[in-house]
Amino acid sequence: MDALTVSSLNYSYKNTENVVLSNLNLNVKKGEVFGVFGPNGAGKTTLLSLITGILKLQSGTISILGKDAFTQRKEINQLVGYVPQDFAFYEELSALENLSFFGAMYGLKGKSLDSRSNELLGVFGLMHVAERQVREFSGGMKRRLNIAIGLLHEPQLLILDEPTVGVDVQSRLAILSYLKKINSEGTTIIYTSHLLKEAEEFCNRIALIDMGQVVVVDTLANLLLQNQCKSLEEVFIKLTGKSYRD
């Protein structure tokens, strides 16, 4: 069973004639770290929004961990963790209070919630500021908390939208190290970023999306070989061009 299967996906926003996604097909195997890359406006965020249920399907199908995204959204949301690019938490609350709130939303309770919160605070180096209001945090601390919230319920599929943007090297290494660890324990990861160097060392397979369609899906090694390039950035430019897309 695949972690994610996207078939014949089409999407366009209201009041615009532009088709954002056009007959898009994709599948992500269980246990993979799957990178989704593309220029600005390629349709990555729309694709992630459809997968996570933020946007409603217009046509096509999405199956996540064997469940239909249209009819079994609640069950899917229990199995999927989503880490948006924005800091989607409450700055007036402390890190621990944020984790307690989102944990309760995932149905976690009592000691299991407390121990999981403390574990993640420790992993992401936030234990010493657990009781402090998040508004006082640095950008890196906020980014780590943002990821910790998505991991609270130990999801089988983790979707990360640019998880390391704007953080220092230390934070980035800590984040990637933990993500590699949970991936090795079985968590499937779908990841988007503009940091292609990071993607080279992190992803098992890579999908390049442009103009609402999948341009190519393959391993990094195959992409470099087939396109006779030395880096993912070269492949990216070769397949999507140099012109602005937004």
Partner: protein, 423 residues
């Protein structure tokens, strides 16, 4: 903890750390209620409670009339009396800054009045057949009492003062006439027992209200406490509206959409918390009306109907205010929009709805316009809970427009959430 309970706890924590929001929701209306009650109470007192400063100047060589007149004026309870002697060289009327009414007793008034009364007594006795001839002495002309008013006094108020003074003079005349008649018949002055028998007792009026069980118009406290409570309730638009916009913009709403709970639970939690806030606002503002205002010499807050009708009105008013804030929050794209439109609309609706100036004191046209403001509906609900002992169905009728508006606002908010892909 269930998702709903966790959301409620989260909202309470967020709110408790919002110092500006708490100031706007509690301290500002409290200060406004206090200030406006003091101001309106002063204005109210000038018209209804304060005595008129009246100076009596005695220009008469005898002080007999002056003494009876002063005593009679004092007994009316309408005047703060001061006296002056015009014969003193230091006297200058223009220097009197306090009095708004001055009565001058002209020289020779006591004598002239006495002659007038004696003549009337003789004529009366002749008419009764008890006297054959009346005195043919030339009468002394009775001069008028001279009355001067401050030009700021309104005509109706002047008329009421003139009537009171005339009634005092007439009472003196009647007493003098009866005494004179007694003397002419008995050749002796009546003693106090006899005087009590022949003098008519002052007529008294029984007062009652046209509407049974109603307490007429509210006093300054009875108006301002519910008025500013309502203002405070609707001003939660700044806090709740801004709170919703912030969540929409921060992405936490979208994140919640990816969780195995409905975003409706989070919105319900927000409304529950702010609904509780509106009840707390009522508790705080009504408490200062009960306990603080009497200490500050302001009219105490008297609730005729009891606590339950008051709570009933509060719950419906609060729910309507929270629904309004929800609507503003859902449709605003920025916190500035929510705050700007929210505050401006609340101030305008409050002004129209009789919060700043009570409806009963407004011109008829404005009373009609007031009907479009939910503040006026809410004030009716509060007045019916505070001023009258209303049956339950009357209370229900008074809150019905608020309930309808609440339903409409919730529906509008639901449509907005759907259109913005948040539900």
């Amino acid at each position: 903890m269930s998702p709903l309970a966790a959301s409620i706890v989260k909202e309470f924590k967020v709110l408790s750390r919002d110092k500006t929001g708490l100031f706007l929701m509690f301290l500002m209306p409290l200060a406004l209620a206090l200030l406006m009650t003091v101001l309106q109470n002063s204005a109210f007192k000038i018209v209804n409670e304060n005595k008129v400063d009246l100076m009596v100047i005695n220009n008469d060589s005898s002080s007999l009339f002056f003494q009876s007149f002063s005593k009679g004026l004092e007994q009316t309870g309408m005047f703060n009396l001061s006296f002056n002697d015009a014969s003193k060289p230091s006297f200058k009327l223009s220097e009197d800054k306090e009095s708004i009414v001055v009565v001058m007793v002209p020289n020779g008034y006591t004598y002239a009045l006495d002659q007038e009364i004696k003549s009337k007594a003789e004529q009366s006795l002749q008419l009764f057949g008890m006297l054959d001839t009346v005195s043919t002495e030339e009468k002394v002309t009775l001069k008028n009492l001279e009355l001067s008013f401050d030009p700021v006094l309104q005509e109706s108020y002047r008329y009421s003062i003139k009537s009171t003074i005339l009634s005092v003079v007439m009472a003196i005349q009647n007493e003098m006439l009866l005494k004179q008649l007694f003397y002419d018949v008995n050749q002796s002055q009546p003693d106090s027992a006899a005087l009590e028998k022949i003098l008519p007792k002052p007529l008294l009026l029984s007062e009652s209200l046209i509407k049974e069980n109603s307490a007429a118009n509210p006093n300054a406290t009875q108006h301002n406490i519910p008025a500013w409570t309502l203002f405070a309730m609707f001003f939660t638009v700044i806090t709740l509206g801004g709170n919703i916009v912030k969540e929409k913009r921060s992405g936490s709403f979208l994140r919640i959409k990816t969780l195995p709970v409905s975003i409706a639970q989070v919105l319900i939690a927000k409304q529950v918390v702010f609904w509780v806030v509106t009840v707390l606002q009522t508790l705080v503002l009504f408490s200062i009306g009960f306990f603080l205002f009497p200490v500050l010499q302001l009219p105490p807050l008297i609730i005729t109907s009891g606590i339950l009708p008051l709570l009933f009105a509060t719950l419906f008013c609060g729910l309507c205010a929270v629904s309004y804030a929800l609507c503003i929050g859902v449709y605003s794209d920025t916190v500035e929009q929510a705050n700007g439109f929210g505050a401006a609309s609340v101030v305008i609706l409050a002004a129209i709805g009789g919060i700043f100036v009570p409806l009963f004191a407004m011109p008829e046209v404005f009373k009609l316009i007031a009907n479009i403001s939910p503040f006026s509906w809410a004030m009716k609900a509060y007045y019916s809970a505070i001023l009258e002992i209303s049956p339950f169905h009357i209370l229900l009728l008074n809150v019905l427009p608020l309930l309808l508006l609440t339903t409409i606002l919730q529906l509008i908010a639901y449509i907005g959430l759907k259109r913005k892909n948040l539900l």
